[in-house]
Symmetry: C2
Subunit: 362 residues, 2 copies
């Protein structure tokens, strides 16, 4: 599949939806790819099935707090340097690149890398959404070492990290990213095609495009974009979606700390009733409660959408007074296994609650 | 020159003297080499002049807060892993290793690496003393890039750092060291023999041995070890030494912060008079004042020594009540040039004072 300029806005919107508040700004993500395409580069997206068993895939991404990223936009060549450095270190050449997660920047960053290097981009990722930490990957859950990995900043400073496990990789890489100014560009979890088929969440780029198009089509047809979205999800591995709250943002607390954008948003019904939804986030939305009662929890998706247009709002773009609808969405079965929940279930974020599927919550 | 078991205590003592409070525990430093020698390895020390022009030298060292190091002793193979990783990255084999600074651990760490790998150790270093930061090197002052460098911890986790300048190398490496637990093992400033002759402080290993022997010989002959030390220095590039205070430690404030052991010691005369010396440190002693009046300042050496035995006391071993003499020593001319003072003079440590040679102070 060749991506067109017209696809970019839809893709970035859908990826931001799946990014569940994280993964960086869809606007910045779109601009990077647009520039590469306008310079004559093409973006080729291939299915996991098309990658030869032994061919090397090197995923690329942005790492850091999205709050920093919007003040320090990437050129796109930072992640290219990470990929090239990893190739030299491995003594092997990449056949393709791939996203590690869904999100406004992190779905589009590999597209820029692929376009500029003439590499195809694999239609899959390692989170099926966005998560804040590098070991929170289906790649990790199903046994792929994340290292050697490379981290590069906008000055071309780079580090090659090799660790005994993926949690230590995250710990060191986060420290390096903080000292690089809070946002940096990585190449990690290099693996062959056979492995990628076993450990990835497939077709999340095409799903993002489908979601973005669906929202736009509903708007253009003056239909309810939320109802369209819920109907569309039914035929995907994500299956179940529901509006769990609507109202306006009445309280917002956010800090960029330890390399993350952490915080809390409170949403009150427009009528000003007693019901208040509180959502906690660490780059991504983690848990949503109404007056203390659980409504949705990680790894299920919690998406804050503009209440008119259904445009996804990422954590760094939340503002006091925004009118929003909050949607909960079930994640595919590969992300709800006990092994997966041990890595990116509620406990991994220091939350006391157990995971409860969105379908089973009131 | 082949080092003998009998040399080790003298060498570690003399290196700790030159380490001016930093560079890690002489006891720990000695034990590491002793173990390697008892296992049958030999330590060969060569002069800078013996290294062929094109031969590769890879210096090795410990990095971190000495306060952490005494709780987490190195095995010695951590720095070996750094050297081997750097060799692989460069695609070249080391002809020799070398210290980057003088100090209890950092003079002996390269000896362990050399002994275990069968590499000679060059009798020179890049500080002519110890300094807390990686860019505070004559190597850096005279134009050698510190990167690519490698940092390894006790679990074999490692990172290869490549930066656009040596200050950024220090910044990233310090962050990595902190996340590795506060102490780690490095290989950096790789250079050829021709370059090393141009940018190093020569014969500091033999000088350390000479100082350590001199102190011991004076004790054994029931002579004043301080007078002997001052006489001995007169015939070296360090030339001028003087006791600038004596008394007991009456106040000690220390914290391990941002990867360094930082703090302040106050020393009062035994008679309890009004004169109090205050010494500030960041791993190493930086400035000594008596009632606010300058007595010695970086890069000149400030050495706190046991008032009876003249045994050097490193910053992490300072204790309330210790009886001490404080010695100031002039450093060689290569370390007092304007370029050198810009890198490791008082301003580089955030001190307001200008450098004043110890010879010119009261």
């Amino acid at each position: 599949m060749k991506l067109t300029l017209g696809d970019l806005e839809d893709l970035a919107r859908g990826a931001a939806f799946l990014g569940t508040g994280g993964g960086g700004s869809p606007y910045a993500g779109r601009l990077m790819v647009q520039r590469a395409m306008e310079e004559g580069h093409t973006v080729e997206i291939i299915d996991l099935e098309e990658v030869p068993d032994e061919a090397l895939i090197i995923p690329t991404a942005m790492m850091g707090a999205p709050t920093v990223l919007i003040e320090k936009l990437p050129r796109g060549d930072e992640a290219i340097k990470s990929l090239r450095t990893l190739e030299r270190h491995l003594g092997r050449t990449a056949y393709a690149t791939m996203p590690i997660e869904c999100g406004g920047i992190n779905s589009t960053m590999p597209l820029v890398v692929g376009a500029r290097l003439g590499l195809p981009v694999v239609d899959a990722d390692g989170m099926g959404r966005a998560f804040p930490e590098l070991q929170m990957e289906t790649f990790h859950v199903y046994g792929v070492p994340g290292t050697p990995m490379v981290i590069t900043n906008e000055y071309g400073d780079s580090t090659i990290v090799q660790t005994h496990d993926n949690a230590m990789m995250e710990w060191l890489a986060r420290g390096i990213t903080i000292r690089m100014g809070g946002a940096a560009y990585i190449a990690e979890y290099s693996m062959d095609g056979r492995t990628a088929r076993r450990v990835s969440v497939p077709r999340t780029l095409s799903l993002a495009l489908q979601i973005g198009r669906g929202i736009r089509a509903a708007r253009e047809a003056h239909k309810d974009p939320f109802a369209e979205l819920i109907a569309l999800l039914r035929d995907t591995p994500y299956q179940y979606g529901r509006i769990i709250f609507q109202g306006k943002i009445v309280d917002l607390w956010r800090e960029t700390t330890q390399g993350f954008a952490k915080g809390r948003a409170r949403i009150q019904t427009l009528e000003g009733g007693a019901a208040v939804m509180e959502i906690l986030f660490q780059n991504e939305f983690l848990v949503a409660r109404v007056n203390g009662e659980l409504r949705a929890i990680v790894p299920d998706l919690i998406c804050i959408l503009d209440s008119e247009t259904a445009e996804p709002i990422t954590t760094e773009m939340l503002r006091y007074g925004q009118r929003v609808k909050v949607m909960g969405v079930s994640v595919p079965p590969i992300m709800r296994t006990p092994e997966a929940l041990a890595v990116f279930g509620p406990r991994a974020f220091g939350l006391e609650a157990e995971f409860q599927p969105i379908e089973t919550l009131a």
